[in-house]
Subunit: 244 residues, 3 copies
C-alpha cells in the first residue's frame, strides 16, 4: 500500500523531469522515508541519483517498501499537465500508478506499471579535486555560448572557473567573475571535457534560482547536484577522453 | 449584387475559421437576412451549420440571394491578416470575392470564386438525451489532458459531466465539478466516443470566453454550438463505434 | 593591427545581420575610417553595400587597412549571443577575429579568418525615377499581406505608393495612405516586380523604428537603404522580368 499527497506541484514536475531527462524507463523505489531512484542512462555515460523525502509530501504512507517500474517519458507528459494550484494524489492500485490532479477540475490518470529487473548501479567513488557552487541560469547561458562553437566543452577549475569550447572555425572561452561564483575550492587544477547535450540534460529540471554544486577531477566523471523542492538530484557524467 | 461592411473583425475572422476548421471548399449562401453555410467535412464525419445574420454587419445589401463557391483555406489565410482596427468591406465582382481591409493602410484582396455544385446536407435529427453548457477554455484543457493518453475520448453525461480516455499505457478521467458547469440536464446516461482531433477542430473558432452548448445521446452524433459575434456555429460530429 | 570596442551591441548585431541576410562568406574591409563591405549574394541577384564608421565605436584603432575573409553565418550566430549590457571588444590576432563580450561573464570567441579573393563589385548606376521614404514596420506588414497571394510582388510609385501581388487564386493590392509615407517624389510612374523572400531578407536587420529609403525605376534594380546605428546599409535588388 502506497498513498501520498503533494501540493508543491512544481517540485513534483521537476522531480519527474530530472529523471526523465536521463532515462525513459526505470525503477522507482518507494521507501518508508521517501522516493528514491538510481539509474544509468541507456548510453551508460550518465548516472542519476534522485531522492524526494517523505517530508516533501502533505501525506505519505508506505506499508512496505516496494519497487515499481515506471515509463518516465509517459509519466513526464502526464505530470506536465498538472497546474500550480493542483493537489496531486498518488497511489498504487494493482498494476497501476494512480494519479489524481485535484484542482479546478478533478483529473485521474492511471499509468501501467512496467516490468523492471535492473538493480540500482553503485555510486562512483571519485576523489574530487575541486568544488564549485554557481547559479543555474548563468551556467546554462555559458553552455549556450559554447554550443555555437562545438558540441562538447571543457570545464575547468583552478583559481577561477571557466568553460571553453574548441571548434573547426573558432573557439569560445567563458570566464565567470568571482562575484558570480558562490564558492570555489580547488586542491589542484581540474579539467575535463563533456558532451554539451548531456550537460544540458542534467540542468533540465533546474529553475532560474537553482544553485548548482559541481565537483570535478581531471578526466574523471563530473558530479552535479541541485535541490528540487525538499528533495535533490545528483548526476554523474563521464568525461570524454580527448586532446581538446 | 452583394455589398457588406463589418467592423467586428474578430467575429469575421472567427466565422471564417469556424468553417475552415472543417472544410477546404464550400458553398457560402448569401441571403437577404445574412450569410449561411451548411456542409459536411471531406471525411463525412462532421457537419458544420454556420450563420452570420445581416445585423452583424454595419452595412449589408443583397439584391438577389446567391450561392458562391469559396476556397475557405485561402480565405482564412487572407482573413487572418485583418487587424482589430480594420473595417472589412466585402463585395462580389464578376468571378471574385473582393475584400477591402481599410485601416492604417488600405489592402484589397480578390479571391477567385470556385465552382461548387454541392447542395447543403440535411441537419441530422437526433433525439438528444442530455444537454451541457460549459466554458470553452475548461473544455479545451480537458481535451489536452486526454490527448496524453489516447487520440479519442468518451464524453459522458449523467448526474455529472466527464471526459475519459483509455490508452495502451494508461487512462485518464476528467470530472467537471458542478460549479464549473453552467447547466446540465440528462434524461438518461449518455456516452459516446469521439476523435480528439475532430473535437479540437470544432472548438478552434471559440474564444476563451465562449460558452459551449453540447447535446449528447449514447452512440449518436454530438451537437456542439457556440456564438460567434452576432452569429453562431453548430457542429455535428459522428461517434466512433468502440468498446472503449 | 586592428582593435575596436563598441557598446551599442544592437547596432553591431544588426550590422552583422544586414550582411549575413545576403551572403554567407565575404570580405570585410577594415579601413582607418571604419568597416566596409560590398558584395553580391551567391545568386547574383542582390548587392549589399555596408558601412559602419569609426565614430560608431568607443575605441577604433587601425594601423594599416586590411581585408579579412569572414564566415558571416558563423559570425552572426556568435554575435546574436551578445547582450545589450555587454561591451564588445574586437581585434585581429594571427588568423583569427577575436571577440570579447564583457558583461556579467566575460566571453571570448575566436573566429577563423577564411580565404577570400573576391574583389568588391561596382555599385550599379541607375537613373532612378522615384524615391520613397517609409517606416520599416508598415512595409514589412504589406509584404506579409502580399505573401498570401504570391511569392513575388510589384512595387509601384506614381502619385501614390503601392504594392500588388497576383496569384492563381486571387490578388492583393496594398495602398499606403499619404500620411504613412514620409516622402514621395516621382518623375514618372515606376513599377518593378521583385521576389518576396529577397525583399524580406533586405529588411531583416531593420528595426520597428527604422526608416527605409526606396529608389525605383521601371524594370530596373531597386535601391533600398536604411541606417544601422551610426552606420548604414544599401541594397540593390534585381527585378524579375515578368508580365505581372
Amino acid at each position: 500500500m502506497f498513498e501520498a499527497v503533494i501540493s508543491d506541484t512544481k517540485a513534483w514536475r521537476n522531480s519527474i523531469e530530472a529523471i526523465a531527462a536521463l532515462i525513459d524507463e526505470g525503477t522507482l523505489q518507494i521507501e518508508t522515508d521517501g522516493l528514491k531512484l538510481r539509474a544509468m542512462d541507456p548510453s551508460q555515460i550518465a548516472l542519476v541519483d534522485f531522492e524526494l523525502p517523505a517530508s516533501a509530501f502533505d501525506k505519505y504512507t508506505v506499508e512496505k517498501p516496494v519497487s515499481v517500474g515506471i515509463d518516465f517519458s509517459e509519466l513526464s507528459k502526464i505530470t506536465k499537465r498538472s497546474r500550480t494550484e493542483d493537489k496531486i494524489e498518488l497511489s498504487l492500485e494493482e498494476n497501476r500508478l494512480k494519479m489524481v490532479f485535484a484542482g479546478e477540475t478533478t483529473r485521474k490518470f492511471n499509468l501501467a506499471i512496467i516490468e523492471s529487473t535492473s538493480s540500482p548501479p553503485k555510486e562512483p567513488g571519485v576523489d574530487f579535486t575541486s568544488e564549485i557552487k554557481i547559479g543555474a541560469s548563468i551556467l546554462k547561458e555559458a553552455l549556450k555560448d559554447a554550443e555555437l562553437i562545438s558540441n562538447h566543452v571543457a570545464i575547468m577549475a583552478d583559481d577561477g572557473f571557466s568553460i571553453t569550447a574548441q571548434g573547426d572555425t573558432g573557439s569560445a572561452e567563458i570566464k565567470f567573475p568571482s562575484e558570480n561564483i558562490m564558492s570555489l575550492t580547488a586542491k589542484e587544477k581540474s579539467r575535463s571535457v563533456f558532451a554539451l547535450d548531456q550537460l544540458n540534460n542534467l540542468l533540465k529540471a533546474s529553475d532560474q534560482g537553482s544553485i548548482i554544486l559541481l565537483k570535478l577531477k581531471t578526466d574523471a566523471p563530473l558530479r552535479l547536484e541541485y535541490a528540487i523542492g525538499d528533495g535533490r538530484v545528483i548526476y554523474y557524467l563521464a568525461p570524454r577522453i580527448e586532446s581538446t
